[in-house]
Symmetry: none
Subunit: 218 residues, 2 copies
Amino acid sequence: MPKVAVIGLGRFGTALSRRLSAAGAEVLAIDRDGRLIDEIKDDVDVAVRLDATDRQALLSQEVDKVDVAVVAIGENFEASLLTAVVLKQFGVPHVVCRAQTAIHAEIFRQIGADEVVQPEQETGAHLARRLANPRLVDAFRLADGLTLIEFSAPAEFHEKSIRHLELRAKYDVNLVVIRRRQGEAQRVFSPSPEEVIQPDDVLVMIGSDEALARLPKE
Amino acid sequence: MPKVAVIGLGRFGTALSRRLSAAGAEVLAIDRDGRLIDEIKDDVDVAVRLDATDRQALLSQEVDKVDVAVVAIGENFEASLLTAVVLKQFGVPHVVCRAQTAIHAEIFRQIGADEVVQPEQETGAHLARRLANPRLVDAFRLADGLTLIEFSAPAEFHEKSIRHLELRAKYDVNLVVIRRRQGEAQRVFSPSPEEVIQPDDVLVMIGSDEALARLPKE
Ligand SMILES: Nc1ncnc2c1ncn2[C@@H]1O[C@H](COP(=O)(O)OP(=O)(O)OP(=O)(O)O)[C@@H](O)[C@H]1O
Ligand SMILES: Nc1ncnc2c1ncn2[C@@H]1O[C@H](COP(=O)(O)OP(=O)(O)OP(=O)(O)O)[C@@H](O)[C@H]1O
């Protein structure tokens, strides 16, 4: 299991630390605010109060021996940057930096950060994609030659079970989820082979572009 | 195209507004800080400076007529809450609220928010999943509780057929396609149950976060 140091216990660092621990990673949580250390110490392997710009303090906690270090300090860019530089000097294999803006992100990359996250911007982009497209996704390129499409169930699929439709054998596509209205709400579920397609079902499928193009359109 | 009001132009609200506009949605951007309005006005349909707790001001901008309203005010919980309540009173069909913590999120739901986002916590959870699982190639949230992941085939899956692995029965995940190197090229295909997993195969799967977390990691 990877050994991960999380430096900075704001909402991002705290959520990250707890989820990592829950997933079985070994977590070393660091912050200079003692109250945050007290709040998290039962949820991680080690929680220690120190100033991340203090190189000796980091070495005393063996931060140079971790597999991954995440610099989750928010507002203090200078401290973030200095910490990231020190971590790369220690030889930490994978250093992730949280950046406030695209320009900050670029600076982190230039000093050697292996990965940069921008929580607010990434969540904004993700929400925008979902809202602009009130159907789950319209067509989303997953990888070369692989697309995810949303497709309202054509008439010839209505009242047939998924097993009966033999989508994989006949069309070489994989039906991954169905979106179905239930009164006011919408249910999104991964169907079993026995599920019967209903009119108005929206089928979310994955396949190559050629395969998807062969699906019946009416 | 949906008409979306974004109230609060911090990093989250600004990224959301620009991406929505780029995706073709009609965007009404609101903030009480005039400088933020100036910075964004060329990127959205309408940018207007007003205090979101001022009901008359909202009505004068026809915020009651939008399809979606996103309350992206950060630190001022009271203003966020009041604004959300007013939007639901106006009858805005879909109100999304940005929450600072799980407790704030719960309060927003109780006053009628249709959706709640927590950018820092969601990004922390997403990063935790990728870091705890170095086999994870990519992960994409499809909808509440449902994620698509790309996952390099762990050793215990090698040389076994998909039927034999019983992924749905054992892990409650749906293997949608396999990506396999073939010489220089890459083949992406929807596998039959007889397909045998090879080392280096990348498995693209869909399931709930809990189900995906149970997949073998080595
Ligand atoms: N030099 C430092 N050494 C250790 N911890 C630090 C240092 N500077 C800041 N921190 C810690 O980093 C944490 C996160 O910083 P801050 O609260 O500014 O970020 P934020 O962007 O508001 O976080 P979030 O959005 O994740 O809630 C704070 O708990 C703070 O104590
Ligand atoms: N009553 C209000 N009416 C209109 N705008 C408001 C009101 N209160 C706050 N705002 C605006 O909301 C915006 C976002 O708030 P704030 O900067 O506190 O959030 P944040 O959590 O730091 O944002 P982010 O993390 O997205 O950068 C600010 O630009 C602020 O001017």
